[in-house]
Subunit: 555 residues, 2 copies
Amino acid sequence: MDIVVVGGGACGLKAACRARRRNEEANITVVDASSYPSLGRCGLPYYVEGLVHTVDDLRKTLAGVVRDERYFKKVKNIELLSNTRATEIDRNRRVVKILKPDGSEDELNYDYLVLATGSKPVRLDVPNSDAEGVVTFSNPEDAERIVEMWENNELERAVIIGGGLIGMEMAEALTNLDVKVTVIEIMDYILPALLDLEMAKLVEIYLKEKNVDVMTKSTVTEILTSGGRVRGVKVNGIKEVPCDLVLMAVGVRPNVDLAVKCGLDVGKFGIRVDEHLRTSDERIFAGGDCVENRFLLTGDPIFTPMGSVANKHGRVIGDNVTGGNSKFPGVLGTTIFKVFDMNVARTGLTERRARELGYDVVTCLVSGPDRAHYYPNQKPIRVKLVAERGSGRILGAQIVGLGVVDKRIDVVVSAMHMKASVYDLSNFDLAYAPPYAQAVDTLIHSANTVINKMEGLIETISSFELKEKLDRGEDLVVLDIRSEEELKKFKRIEDERVLHIPQSELRERYDEIPKDKEVVIVCQIGARSYEAYRFLKSKGFKCKVLEGGLAFWFW
Amino acid sequence: MDIVVVGGGACGLKAACRARRRNEEANITVVDASSYPSLGRCGLPYYVEGLVHTVDDLRKTLAGVVRDERYFKKVKNIELLSNTRATEIDRNRRVVKILKPDGSEDELNYDYLVLATGSKPVRLDVPNSDAEGVVTFSNPEDAERIVEMWENNELERAVIIGGGLIGMEMAEALTNLDVKVTVIEIMDYILPALLDLEMAKLVEIYLKEKNVDVMTKSTVTEILTSGGRVRGVKVNGIKEVPCDLVLMAVGVRPNVDLAVKCGLDVGKFGIRVDEHLRTSDERIFAGGDCVENRFLLTGDPIFTPMGSVANKHGRVIGDNVTGGNSKFPGVLGTTIFKVFDMNVARTGLTERRARELGYDVVTCLVSGPDRAHYYPNQKPIRVKLVAERGSGRILGAQIVGLGVVDKRIDVVVSAMHMKASVYDLSNFDLAYAPPYAQAVDTLIHSANTVINKMEGLIETISSFELKEKLDRGEDLVVLDIRSEEELKKFKRIEDERVLHIPQSELRERYDEIPKDKEVVIVCQIGARSYEAYRFLKSKGFKCKVLEGGLAFWFW
């Protein structure tokens, strides 16, 4: 049996290796257009940053062996042809035409063909986008070019176009090389595809603390050059930002050229595949960045170019081309990244997206320490949970902070895969000891908060709404219930409508609060405000709690 | 309405506070026999270690306020009576009799009563167990006593009786104070209630590296004294171990005295409650360490004295005593602890326990880095997954290592709560980026390994079985497929039946392997052995893989 794989990335090689483990007899050939198949591309930002020393480190096995052509031949009996391009698929004859490194052409017969052609970076069409010093960031050459510029002292300022995941990782990498970075984002806020506004704001403020400039609602209209080399960018047709490097990180597109050319079904987000990852041709499977995924919550097609997904695809395909019957259920759009010491993770639907899709949603913003608050080095995390009103089904989560977020997002992911509700999550028997979590973990607390909201135990107002009310001059009371010490130490809302009664005195002094006005209760993270709300509500006040507390007050 | 709570620990106070938030009008009284209610007892080992500076730090809110009587009164309008003992419950009159700090008696009427009487440490009945220097470790006095001894230079050697969770945490705490620690465990291996043998061995070996002596199959038969003070212990009636401190960490028992006295249903593991945490008296609820929990997998009663569970109980009870209808589904027996830099976590059933219960189980031992193997500071973790053969339903997991284990155990917990199988887990869209996980996370890899085993793609042999075979002199071949460099660097099996053919040469040299003998393939963690197994199997060899690789070779 002949198995041909086009693409030597995560999905393609995983499929090949899995197929080999299931079938020792098959002829397995992998064709890769690059000279560095089996490269962990997700590690490239860390190569630039100097945390990974060579590009080859990204091609090694756990035991330290570079996964090159020789390795695949000797260890796996897989023919890996690098620098070899698949130019055409003849589905009738079941043949892939290839262009070899020496310029000669050849044909590979297949019984099963695997398309794992990956994705390609979007290149903005602006004047001078081909200038020296403009890179997309999708391959080692881009990374090498940046390192070279830096080593030659040619890199003092960089503009990153696109405030997405790669933009964030590269903002860290370049800043840690003492390069001054400006991130330019076309939307109102960074990370618009991943986070809701208030969560993105936390990241944006942190970036600024780390000396990264962030420009939102901004479009690069021209790349400015001098002698063919980048010297800056023009933003919104007006403002000039000087720089030596322009990194276009505005996303990637599925690489579907071959699939289109041979007439396979291709959707908006990539090659169409069924749950077995079979294309419209039963002899052809496809996986990795080049295919449409199924979003588990809605069943809609979604584009999720992630190495973890590609690996899972590879395993399923490896099974199915060797007589197996494996299925890939779909994805939740989980994403995580580190930017300096901040961890940012999300899964499922944002509130905005859930509302666009017509869900009746309940959300919460909960802050807390990532371990027992008395345990050394505890750090804060902020959780936004999005659930369906009524059923309580979890629709998504966003978690941001200097503390541990990956654990909590993975719990939400696991819960969502199994269609869990906040009622389920509330009672998950998660691991507790002081070095790892609070006795009531911040995530459990988030589930409880959503339940409280659904039960009508609390009403909240977002910081954006409150800001608007204050700016509009509405006659309300902002009741700050923090202690005197906290008022001195932390940010406060500067407004004459703020009334200060510490929580410990509220039961004695509540008659100082005007009964005819709307009262917005604020504290540091919102927990005490909830308590105060229950008390004041019972006394007949018209009150609300500032959602998430002053941790989400951005002004 | 009068709500009386007996016990001012996690469950009791949580129930009281939750009840208050749902009902502003109720009279809520909490009776606590100690002088330090609302204490995070799980933090006591860290107080001894010096990581937490005062015991009061364990009673503070996130905002730094000590949760004492005054706090509960002013902030929550909850009457907290410390140093007050509930002596009797008159269920007919709905009255709790109390003994006040001044020696006077009183009665509290209740509409609803909450029993949250916690647990008490088991005290071994051995000669001189009341000597000065013998402590159980359940209250701040014990902790203060240890700190005092240390400050007075009276503490150079300690014996910890019991190799369980508290024993481990205290072994760390005391060793970090330069106290020489000996852990004495009655069973064959430490942590017998939590881990299977091979996982416990990893911890035991690590403890020894950290200069902690571990004696298994050992019973303290006498405490040796001098002038009423501890000077050592006698083990198994023979060996003397000198010490200044004996810490009895042999477990705790539910504190059910009051419940028994007033005739409530009490089971083997505590007060019997239904899923609403209602006792056999509809006016009395109970939660925390004093009740029987329901083990989610089997429905059997189980004793799980954990602060996290107690808090969840408290919330459910707080709901139900104020007209709510909340349920507590049960627990998985999740446990986690840190011992020095090693993280140890478990949930569900061990393999041993699952087999005792009659499950047909499949297990795996998988090792891997906790993040991308090229990312700085990645550290190894070792996963044992236990699943039901056929359905693949996850029955339990144990994860041990210097790397991040809490995340992975929490994913398994979430999966198990929702009755997930390894097929589900295999495709969980867990968060991936190099600082957080491998593209195929070690946990996903574990699920895949169990699947492989169920599909018959691999047969394994445990290191204990292999050791026995070798010791018995069986005529087999141990095929070590690691590289020459690894052989020099890492542990190897010293035996003349070991044949060394590096993985990269196996396809050329496999005819050097005797075809008539059983072949056990070994490598560092087992991954490459699986590959070699597939190849050799196809060539007709009678082979098996050393489960978990040499990472689990203890000799």
